[in-house]
Amino acid sequence: MKVPAFDYVRPQSLVEAVRFLAGAGGEARVIAGGQSLLALMNLRLAAPEILIDIARLPELAAAGEDDDAVSLGAGVTHAAIEDRRVPDPSRGLMPRAAASLAYRAIRTRGTLGGSLALADPAAEWPAVLAALDAQAIVCGAGGRRMLDCGSFATGIYETRLADDEIVESVRIAKLSPGARWGYVKLSRKSGEFANTLAVAVADRARGHCRVVLGAANGPPLVLADASRCLADGARDPDALRGAIGADLDRAADRHFDDFQRNLHIVAAMRAIRQATA
């Protein structure tokens, strides 16, 4: 299969990119690494009339840090995170997640912002950034605003981004020195989309403990009861299992079958065990 025809523009600045996007009336898509979008277009599952190439916008390539947080441009590649060529706020969680994402030849081109904006339910970054309580800085015709990554995705391939908005960067608070994390991705093959993805972050010094499930038939699923257990040290496995179960019971709209439900519970338990070991 070959991609349907489209018009191609390569703006020179983020402002210009937003102007193209706003002028396209919903018929345009931005393309950065294109590692998901071009696959979808090759399969003719996506057919934008205009592609706005933002792969080389300097604004999106920036990576920086201050005392409290790291800011990663939306155009930072998975490989740059994997190789620690950009600052890591997560004490190794983000490089670990990056290395588990697809294959090296995808990671060299695919971007952090692209993954967040696409909101594939099985993708790694939406769940990891939600667990880290990161903020997405998005830029649109009306200016910039900040969105919590925990609620950035609203459905399968659906987000709170407006039609004219582009993810510019992600701001991630630095984990404290004593913080721990757990990351469990279960997939039948290395690099494939996850059957389940559990991320646990325990940063008690900052009062941030959160357990998030990816590959959860929708946007990343924050496990509130399990997160509280994690904050309390999660010493009782039966209580923890019960808490995760209660979280999943509340997510009835995800329609997990018995296999998925069990897999999510096991993955969450294992991620929490890593974060408390």
């Binding site: 025809a5 003719r44 093959k189 059957n195 018995d258 296999f259």
Partner: protein
């Protein structure tokens, strides 16, 4: 003597490698002809529907072709002599009805593939959607829905295979084991899909068809038949082929359509199958259902096996052999390498609204092996013995050879039980048992399993005639030619697409003639430059084509000796051709010198000897029922009882394929086959929903085995040369793929015995985490998933 580093038994490095390592291989899609237009197909989105109308875009004149636009094309028909078998006719472009998702309806032509796809998307087809037949065991007879209305049922064929007295076995049995098994539908998935490039050569008045096929000569025969053309007006070329594995050993509608379009239009046409089309339309494989009842004595000696086999063969039969061979091969191979006295199998081949079933490495045997080998293990458990012991207890012993099984297979020779012992040794069975006893720190369960089989290879006319085959691929051919400078060309009717036959056939010619293999070219895959042959499939090319090369080389050797003796002024009986030289009692003359005389200086030829060094020979093995390779495969797995994920820790093959021409290539074939078998066991499946929609359309849904999950495959060899073939060779190309599903399922079974009570079994492939978890939950009494 020929140079040992080059001849039979040498691991000569492959001459095929250099072009591929430099990106200079030539696959169909790499070939460029000026003015080529690209083809995309309108395909059925429905499993079963009547076509009410096809509306072309208003500006598409001469660019969209339906069946009505190509009246020259005749429907594909399979002729079979098998009693009671039904054979539907199949129009390459659908006319009144479509019968599977992906069936071709119209061909669309444009300068680029992207534009051709745009055009295809603009064609409107009005369908009356019908209910689909998707469940073969359920719908074989009683369905309201018929794939082919005139039949009255959905049965292509049904046969009963019987040997001995199964009722007597049932009466005598101390134990009875009953199981159902299922090997799900999958794709062959060579990395290169199919491809066709066709053009009309006005100078030669012929249609040239480049196709990614394993069988160029028979594709030419079919094109002649279905297009009504003399074969002298058709040339089929199979250049480099990016893997075949069986699905490319059949004729496809696209080959006929492209050739027909090339007759109509004055420019070349190209169609390159994409991965989605491959998963939808290239031959699917497996899809076997078994109900097996085994009767055994208290020691685990099997007295009889009673089986029902149902093969879901899809909507049409692929030319030339049709859909029949899967079930028949499964039924005849089900008794495995065992001396089972009583047997009955009822084997049905069923039409459904799915893509046609075709051959794939192992054909009917991986399913049959799965059924009998899982059953052997359950018999062993029922009598409380180790499956390894029970396997050997039932096996045909060397002193029983030759042995004809109750399934009708005539084993020639070999020590089958020894393959079990060797395989257990390669995996260090006692060490695995000790590890299993210790338990894993991460709570996973270790299991070890084995599976054995005997593989019919290089079967000749007798076998194919007994199958009721419409064509009988019982021989191969070779034209061997020595050129005026002493270099040589072997022109063979097979097609080498990864098997390394350009290397191994030159080793055989070297063995006979002494010419450096680097000076021997092997030409194959082109109907223009080779004598007729059937192609490469059925583990036949090394034995069959190798045999033909041996015979043709010997004819040349005789002539070299005749001419050489004359030049050396000695008797022919005194001349010996070795190392590229003919030696007499008092001197020698090189093949190059003789070749020069035979072509350029005929005044030096002995009286009565014609010029040229050119010989054509055919070869059929002395026994038409095949020579049997055999092997035992062993797998060690770790099963995560919390998730159902299975990791393959170790895998070993102990095998015997007689004389190995090139051990390096033999081992490469084994390892490749094993990993395909692991794909069947753990990963590969094309599920269909109730409406007949296939649910795996990309390699993200259809999982192929990857390097990260595969262990290094261990191999041990036994050596029992065949007596019915040249040099004692046996075919071995498919065997690697036969036993892994059974060995791995037995290993998973072994691991899950730790769950207590009677443990858990997974009797269906692929063994997905879902299927494993369902078995685990059932064994633990947690409501089944």
């Amino acid at each position: 003597m020929p140079n040992d580093a080059w001849g039979i038994g040498a691991s000569l490095l492959r001459r095929e490698d250099e072009r591929h390592l430099n990106g200079r291989g030539e696959f169909v899609s790499d070939i460029k002809l000026p003015g080529t237009m690209e083809v995309a197909f309108v395909r059925s989105p429905h499993a079963h529907a009547r076509i009410r109308s096809i509306v072309k875009p208003s500006d598409a004149a001469g660019r969209v072709f339906t069946a009505a636009d190509l009246p020259r094309i005749q429907p594909i028909r399979i002729v079979t002599q098998a009693a009671g078998a039904k054979s539907p006719s199949w129009t390459p472009l659908a006319t009144d009805k479509v019968r599977y998702v992906g069936e071709a309806i119209a061909a669309c032509i444009a300068p680029s593939r992207a534009e051709a796809e745009d055009l295809a998307a603009a064609v409107t087809v009005d369908f009356e959607v019908l209910d689909a037949v998707v469940d073969a065991p359920r719908d074989l007879r009683g369905s309201r829905h018929l794939v082919h209305e005139s039949w009255g049922d959905n049965l292509y064929s049904e046969r009963v295979f019987e040997g001995g007295d199964i009722e007597a076995a049932a009466r005598a049995a101390a134990i009875t084991v009953r199981r159902e098994y299922r090997m799900r539908r999958q794709s062959g998935a060579p990395l290169e899909g199919r491809a066709v490039l066709a053009h009309r050569d006005h100078r030669l008045d012929e249609i040239v068809v480049y196709a990614s096929t394993q069988t160029p000569h028979t594709v030419r025969v079919a094109l002649g038949e279905f297009l009504g053309l003399d074969l002298r007006r058709l040339r089929v070329v199979a250049p480099d082929i990016g893997g075949g594995f069986g699905p490319k050993a059949r004729l496809y509608p696209e080959e006929i359509i492209l050739a027909a379009l090339a007759l109509e239009l004055d420019h070349p046409l190209r169609w390159v199958e994409d991965r989605g089309e491959h998963l939808l339309t290239s031959a699917h494989t497996r899809d076997h259902h078994y109900r097996v009842t085994a009767y055994a004595d208290g020691q685990g000696r099997i007295l009889g096996v009673d089986a029902e086999i149902v093969v879901d063969a899809g909507a049409y039969g692929l030319w030339p052999q049709g859909p029949y061979q899967e079930a028949a091969m499964a039924a005849r191979n089900l008794p495995g390498p065992y001396a089972i006295p009583h047997y009955r199998a009822r084997a049905a081949t069923v039409a459904t609204n799915k893509a046609p079933l075709g051959p794939y490495r192992g054909v009917g045997r991986p399913g049959a092996c799965f059924a009998i080998e899982r059953t052997i293990d359950e018999v062993a458990r029922a009598v409380g013995r180790d499956p390894v012991e029970v396997r050997m207890l039932n096996m045909v012993r060397p002193e029983q050879m030759p042995f004809t099984t109750v399934g009708g297979m005539r084993f020639d020779n070999g020590d089958y039980p020894q393959s079990v012992r060797l395989c257990a040794e390669l995996l260090d069975l006692p060490a695995v048992r000790a590890r299993q006893q210790r338990g894993e720190p991460d709570g996973r369960l270790i299991g070890i399993g084995f599976a054995s089989f005997a593989e019919q290879t290089a079967h000749g006319a007798a076998e194919f005639v007994s199958r009721g085959a419409s064509i009988v691929p019982g021989f191969e051919s070779c034209t061997a030619r020595i050129l005026p400078d002493g270099s040589a060309v072997l022109m063979v009717g097979i097609q080498s697409h990864g098997q390394g036959l350009e290397t191994t056939l030159s080793q055989i010619a070297h063995h006979e003639l002494g010419i450096d293999p680097a000076r021997i070219a092997v030409r194959h895959g082109d109907t223009e430059s080779t004598a007729f042959g059937f192609g490469t499939f059925a583990s036949r090319s090394m034995v069959m084509s190798g045999g033909a090369v041996a015979r043709a080389s010997r004819l040349l050797r005789d002539k070299l000796c005749q001419i050489g003796a004359h030049l050396l002024q000695c008797n022919v009986a005194e001349a010996r051709c070795t190392d590229g030289v003919v030696r007499g009692p008092q001197g020698s003359v090189t093949i190059a010198e003789i070749a020069r005389v035979a072509h350029l200086r005929m005044d030096g030829l002995p009286p009565g000897v014609d010029p040229l060094l050119d010989a054509t020979a055919t070869y059929e093995p002395a026994v038409g029922t095949g020579v049997f390779s055999y092997a035992t495969h062993g797998a060690v797995v770790a099963v995560d009882p919390e998730t159902g994920f299975v990791e393959l820790l170790d895998f070993a093959v102990a095998e015997d394929c007689g004389t190995m021409v090139n051990p390096m290539i033999v081992e490469g074939q084994i390892r490749g086959g094993v990993v395909q078998g692991i794909g069947t066991a753990l990963y590969e499946e094309i599920p269909y929903d109730e409406r007949g929609q296939p649910l795996a359309g990309t390699l993200a849904d259809y999982l192929l085995p990857g390097a990260a999950e595969m262990p290094a495959i261990k191999i041990g060899h036994l050596h029992t040369p065949a007596t019915a073939t040249e040099y004692g060779m046996k075919g071995m190309g498919e065997g690697g793929a036969v036993a892994p599903p059974a060995a791995i399922a037995n290993a998973v079974r072994d691991a899950l015995t730790a769950l207590g009570n009677s443990g858990a079994e997974v009797n269906e492939t692929p063994i997905t985490p879902q299927r494993a978890m369902a078995a685990i939950s059932k064994a633990r009494g947690i409501g089944s998933a």
